[in-house]
Amino acid sequence: MGSYVLRRVLQMIPVFFGTTLLIFLMVYTLPGDPVAALFGEKAADPAVVASIKHKYYLDQPIWKQYLHYMGNLFQGDFGTSFTGRPVTDIMAGAFPVTIRLALLAFVFEMILGLVLGLVSGLRRGSVQDTLVLILTLLVISVPVFVLAYIAQTVFATNLGWVTPTVQNSYDLSQLMLPAIVLGSLSLAYVARLTRTSIGENLRADYMRTAVAKGLPRRTIISRHLLRNSLIPVVTFLGTDLGALMGGAIVTEGIFNVQGIGNVLYRAINQKEGPTVVGIVTVLVIVYLVASLLVDLLYAVLDPRIRYA
């Protein structure tokens, strides 16, 4: 187990270098000159452009820029954005917001998704099952921004329960509505995955054995059925956590949540290499750690899986 984890952690190192290099190259090949764009519609002053480029090391060839960036990175310096703010500060401001939002959405989709999936999986063909199927189909087929605007209009403008946008991005209670919108799509997937998985396992041999042994229904469902049915769901939830962190741009925009999605979007627009590379690198690490946790969870859920 320990050596398996160590191996996985070591594998992260080349992935880390690979992604930083790739993202760095991608930002570099984006069209347009970011420094000239600072001047807007006005003609850029060549002397100032040259001076700013020199300051941000942009006047060097790309490989030198990359080495310079990596050199600083190992000293804990993620670089500086054009606003003069260190990228570490920018990330320290935005990641807590996104983590709150993503975790809220994650908890919402996990709990509600599993409950709905369990209910409909156990009672296939019942009214509840049909209702869950219709509801999830609706959520899957409606784009997330439509859901967001509907939620904003109904709960804020019409009912007045919440403010239309998030007034303080660090306040968990205000992040509830965006989190529910953000998590709703995955909720539908989780519910459907659980339902299918439970449906399959209901017919498994060990289930028949458990029933034949005369175990109480509650034990059968929680110990045998649910645990075995969770493997595909956990796989989905693990990768989804990464997606929730990085993919909330639309929801963050509509509810004015000042999280990582918007910072990243703005940085890409302004071609701010250090900010983009820094954020994406952290997101990649989050993804890698999440998938490692998922793999370790398999062993907990299914004792037949062993990591030597």
Binding site: P31, L38, A43, A47, G84
Partner: protein, 539 residues
Amino acid sequence: MPEAARARWVLAVATSVVLVATGCSSGGGGSSSSDTSKTFSYQSSEPQNPLQPANANEVGGGRILQNLFRGLVDYDPSTAKIRMQVADKIDTSDSQTFTVTLKDGWKFHDGTPVHAKNFVDAWNWGATTSNNQINSSWFSDIEGYKDVHPAGGQPTVTTMSGLTVTDDLHFTVKLSNKVSYFEYKLGYIAFSPLPDGFFKDPAGYGQKPVGNGPYQFVSWSHNQEVVTKTFPDYQGVDKPKNGGVVFKMYNTSEAAYADLQSSNLDVIDQVPPSALATYKNDLGNRAIDAPQGAIQNIGFTLYQSDWSSPDKAKVRQGLSMAIDRDTITKTVLQGSRKAASAWVAEGVEGYKEGACGDACKFDPAKAKALITEGGGVPGNKLTITYNADGGHKEWVDAVCNSIRQSTGVDCTGDPKPDFKTARAAITGHQLNGAFRTGWVQDYPLNANFLSDVYRTGAASNDFGYSNPQFDQLAKQADEASSVADTVTGYQKAEAVLPSGMPTIPLWYYRTNSGYSTKVQSVMFDSFGNPAWTQIQVKG
């Protein structure tokens, strides 16, 4: 300023008098008693540069700096005319050497006095290449600018020879050329004074600015809000009638508009395009529709052989006449623009309606005739390059349709993914034919719309337009003895443009905005900014 805005302003004052007299108060857009200690919130975006006056180039940082700093002069929000602020007077006898006298008693927010050297030091600092200030070219009129800002490499000196401090309240500015309207430029934020402490730690002051304006800096929570409060020692003519401005950062204008409707935000920048058709209904008398000193044009690549011959001016006139501006502004642009008839935007000092003449009037028959007379559009094809991230697609398509229907010229839009890509293609001369261009006033004077854009070799002359007659008239206007003469001089220069038609004026921008039920007396100036200090927060 523009009639519509003035009318509304007068109306607001009139209703307030009536209501106070009868002891009524009302919600909605009516007027009621105000509380001068209360702050209001304004839609903003995270500044892209440190908050240093000579570095303000985009609205996010610019609007905040405007409130923290006051220069020698500024512009009256209701008339767009220049008015004295820190300056007591600015004298010149030859339009080249200006003697500035400051008012006594102005203070920075840190309590230090505003003296002549604060201006001179700030300008020198802003002009010097090594300080990386985006607005440094604003100081290029001043003698000695080339020493602190050489065309290439780093400067050897850090002071401009044209600036001399006489005493605490006097300094002189010598320009390298005659610029009769130099004082108009001084209202720009880059000419603000800086406190002595700034020069010890410019980066630190960029995060916590100390100015001399009506509002002082309180805090900046990045990506959330910038909080300011009224500066009690403010000496300007526009004493704040509120307790401060809170700049709330919004990612999208839709989010800001939703907050405005529920009064979680007090004043917005512009209503989102999706709400243009409905905002006057939504907001009633709290909706704002005011002219702005900005114009949208179609520019041509006059440096290309296809467009350089004198005959082609007729083709450009024809294309201009083929565009049905009135219909497009009403339908596609939903009244958010006003059809242009000149190269200078409406409401600007020196604006002359109809300067473009017949060439800006919709006349398909004449358009067709002129295009044929000029030898036709090369290949009978016209591409209009624009940036796809600025909401231009709809009107470019409409303009192309209009041209195609009127003249049969095969016109198509050529979107570039974003603004910086489009700019790179324009300044790199990598275009073929026409492109979207525009001008937003730096100061409300017609010279700004003409000299900076259409002079041979002007920094923003992306067309390669060169007309000796225009250059000569502009030069004469610059050397005039008064601003009034400059204005008429530039009107003469503008009259030369229709013959060469370097650009096609399309329409003037408008401010489509609104405010919440918590504030009153909101008006917008020609820069598209609210008159910050005049906004009253209801008690």
